[in-house]
């Protein structure tokens, strides 16, 4: 493969990106399209708990929810994965057993990424050895902003190697690298370095995922596909908490990358509160009435 010069990545026009995003939001999604879209969104969620106060008990409860989203609504899918710190991978793996729900683990000194490469690799290996199916790494934003693109590239490649069979998601923390041109550049670096997924944010920095940022990343994925025919996944994370905005993201995904990406193999929502809002909308479509938030379990 020939690698591009990361100093000369494709430029992005912010005004154009924002305009395009407003068009996605103008789509009117109703009835069966809405129900189908909401179920698809549920199935793409990475149910996440990434807190200092996390315990095995909390993780087990979340894992039950991952498989039993809302048992009074028959035929609902499970979420795609649960996302936890490396120390809870084992617990999650046991709780999920044969459910088909994957275990994703953040690694590489999440969320700041301020550590040595050796420690980051060890962190990754620990998660994978405990059974993580997916690893969510963070890039070194400091090095990136210094223009040290080769450092970032090499780091991603090294973590990819440490992942073995686990799929690698690369988090840019777009709230810190700030410009859309930077987001585009980071996307290309990560994709060429071997990322299976590119991901917007840790959820610890505001702003987290936004539609413009996600669109820029989807376009980078599309351009790479045009070049190589290889698919890369996308995960916007943090800040998507309503069913309506999830549907807008799906419209954006479909109209940018087409039908092939419309599964949790290639698209995820990193979110903790989104699932309940989607469930509430699904129940509303079914019964015609909005139910109290207390009818939906908060795990």
């Amino acid at each position: 493969m020939t690698y591009p010069d990361f100093n000369k990545t494709v430029t992005v026009d912010q005004v154009g990106i924002e305009e395009r995003c407003s068009r996605f939001q103008a789509r009117s999604i109703k009835k069966e399209t809405k129900v189908e879209g909401l179920k698809l969104a549920l199935n793409m969620i990475d149910l996440t708990t990434l807190e200092g106060k996390d315990t095995e008990g909390k993780v087990r409860q979340m894992c039950y929810k991952a498989v039993h989203l809302h048992d009074v609504y028959p035929g609902l899918p499970t979420v795609a994965a649960v996302c936890v710190y490396p120390t809870f991978v084992k617990t999650a793996k046991e709780a999920l057993k044969t459910s088909g729900v994957k275990v994703a683990s953040v690694a590489t000194a999440f969320p700041s990424g301020q550590s040595t490469r050796a420690i980051k690799i060890a962190d990754t290996k620990f998660a994978v050895e405990n059974g993580a199916d997916e690893v969510d790494m963070v890039i070194s934003r400091g090095e990136f902003l210094k223009g040290n693109y080769n450092f970032v590239f090499d780091e991603i490649a090294a973590i990819k190697e440490a992942c073995g069979k686990a799929r690698l998601k690369v988090i840019f923390e777009t709230g810190e690298i700030s410009t859309l041109d930077n987001v585009r550049k980071a996307s290309e670096i990560a994709i060429y370095a071997g990322a299976d997924f590119i991901k917007t944010s840790t959820g610890k920095i505001s702003p987290a995922a936004t539609m413009p940022v996600t669109l820029v990343m989807l376009e980078a994925i599309r351009d790479y596909y045009y070049q190589t025919g290889i698919m890369v996944g996308m995960k916007p994370a943090g800040g998507i908490s309503t069913a309506k905005s999830a549907l807008h993201y799906l419209i954006m995904l479909r109209e940018t990358l087409g039908n092939a990406w419309l599964s949790n193999e290639w698209f995820r929502f990193g979110a903790s509160s989104l699932a309940n809002d989607v469930l509430m909308q699904l129940m509303k479509e079914k019964t015609g009435l909005y139910q109290s938030a207390d009818y939906f379990s908060k795990d």
């Binding site: 026009d13 990106i17 039908n259």
Partner: protein, 491 residues
């Protein structure tokens, strides 16, 4: 080395390839079975006794019958406008005039949904566009010019601007309400009275505007609306008591008008056809440029005089851009204009559809490579798939002539000199688009492109504060902004 095929994306199936219908409600609108002429503040039966049908181009159903004004009707309307000018409008303090114009603007806003739905029914444009673009912009034009009414001395310092008198205004069918606003608002703000003739296929929103004008209590005769086709327009143009003609429409008719008023003291502004170059350089933000191409040519079914109907792509990126454009075209939804998800609505009339189809045959015969998106189109009504002609030549008729439909002629270029020469090598000069990340290149091109409007890294953007108008056979005079006042005053 063999040329590598770019992988295609698949938009044909799966979630979102079709949407559950999301029709805008039409139950709230009021359209009369028959419309008379609006003369001297009243609805008047036409002297001709004739009415013609107005058709919904998406369903081919008759919505209403519209009065056909003949010479006598036009005489009445001009007389009403003259009397209103002499007795009321020219004597009224400017700040009072402004109040009426503000009132029209606010009423359009209040009745925005009704206007949007009727515009879509009568003209075939998508409800998304009439709701988000046409109607809000029309209201904004009235707001903007209302603000100028009592500040004309500041627009033209030390020149004592005075109104012209009676303005005859003839507007096209592509933006019926918006064009009425473009014409009426500056004319009223500067103290003129108006006789307006809408296009015969799209009279309804102008007649609705007449209702609004009546509701706003505008003095009788200040705005008169006479409906009809070319003959009615000719009667208006040739009327001896008109001080000013403002016309938006085809270059052919524009030339006839210019000939027929030669030797009279009538002032004239013409906003005519176009065949704009949309130029994509290899340093452009390519993904946004593809959006700009789509917005440039497929906006309002391509029924836009400033549509970016000639695409120039720098050779090095041409294959990539075309491949992306084709994929993007697959996501465009063509169909029921009243559905909120429709991107491209109905072609305005049967005549226009057959004109577009004629040009499609011409393009094929000329040897350009024909491409259409694969979307389904309704069986009834007038529809046209988004269309490309690749590898077009400068001497092709599809490159030289205005098609006024969703048909894009694509050419490639190598150097900046070449593209400037080709972009200017056309009888028209209304608008152009430039896509590059380099600011200096934009300024270089804006000084060399002979076009009234040059958009940089965007396309088809309109604002009441910004002047609009053409060079060469695209017309003369400017509408919008402070420049738009100029055509309606004498010093």
């Amino acid at each position: 080395m063999a040329k590598k095929e770019t992988p295609k994306l698949d938009f044909s199936k799966g979630w979102g390839s079709t949407f559950a219908p999301a029709p805008e409600s039409t139950s709230h609108i009021q359209v009369k079975k028959q419309y008379d002429l609006f003369i001297n503040g009243k609805w008047v039966k036409p002297e001709s006794g004739k009415y013609f049908p107005s058709i919904n181009p998406a369903t081919e159903q008759v919505i209403s019958s519209i009065a056909e004004a003949n010479e006598k009707d036009v005489n009445k309307a001009v007389k009403a406008a003259r009397d209103a000018y002499n007795k009321v409008w020219s004597k009224m303090p400017a700040k009072e005039r402004a109040k009426y114009i503000y009132r029209i603007a606010r009423t359009i806003q209040e009745r925005a949904r009704e206007f949007a739905v009727i515009e879509t029914m009568d003209g075939g444009k998508s409800i998304r566009e009439s709701r988000d673009i046409d109607v809000p912009l029309a209201a904004n034009h009235f707001f903007y010019y209302a603000g100028w009414a009592d500040k004309l001395e500041y627009a033209f310092p030390n020149r004592m601007p005075k109104p012209l008198g009676v303005a005859g205004q003839i507007i096209p069918w592509n933006f019926p309400l918006l064009m009425a606003a473009w014409k009426i608002a500056p004319a009223l703000a500067t103290g003129n009275t108006v006789v307006l003739k809408p296009a015969e296929t799209t009279s309804l929103t102008a007649l609705k505007l007449a209702e609004v004008i009546a509701d706003c209590g505008l003095p009788e005769g200040v705005v008169n609306i006479v409906t009809g086709a070319g003959k009615t327009g000719a009667a208006l143009v040739n009327h001896p008591d008109i001080d000013k003609i403002a016309f938006t429409g085809s270059t052919d008719v524009g030339k006839i008008i210019q000939r027929s008023i030669a030797g009279t003291s009538k002032k004239l502004t013409l906003e005519l056809g176009g065949k704009a170059a949309n130029i994509i350089f290899d340093d452009a933000p390519i993904n946004q440029a593809v959006e700009g191409i789509v917005n440039g040519i497929f906006f309002n079914q391509g029924h836009v005089c400033c549509a970016g109907s000639r695409l120039f792509v720098q050779e090095g990126i041409a294959d990539l851009v075309i491949s992306k454009l084709k994929d993007r075209m697959e996501t465009l939804i063509v169909g029921d204009p009243m559905d909120k998800n429709t991107d491209i609505g109905a072609i305005n009339s049967k005549e226009q559809l057959s004109k577009i189809n004629d040009y499609i045959s011409i393009g094929k015969n000329e040897g350009a490579e024909f491409y259409q998106s694969s979307c389904a189109i309704p069986k009834k009504g007038f529809f046209c798939r988004p269309t490309l002609f690749l590898n077009a030549s400068q001497s092709h008729r599809i490159v030289q002539e205005e098609i006024f439909g969703p048909v894009l002629a694509v050419q490639t270029f190598r150097t900046i000199e070449e593209v400037i020469e080709k972009a200017n090598n056309i009888p028209y000069g209304l608008s152009a688009g430039v896509w590059t990340d380099k600011g200096s290149k934009i300024f270089n091109l804006t000084t060399k492109l002979r076009a009234g409007v040059v958009w940089a890294n965007t396309y088809n953007k309109f604002d009441p504060t910004s002047p609009f108008g053409g060079y060469k056979e695209s017309g003369f005079g400017r509408e919008g902004g402070i420049h738009g006042l100029h055509s309606y005053v004498k010093f």
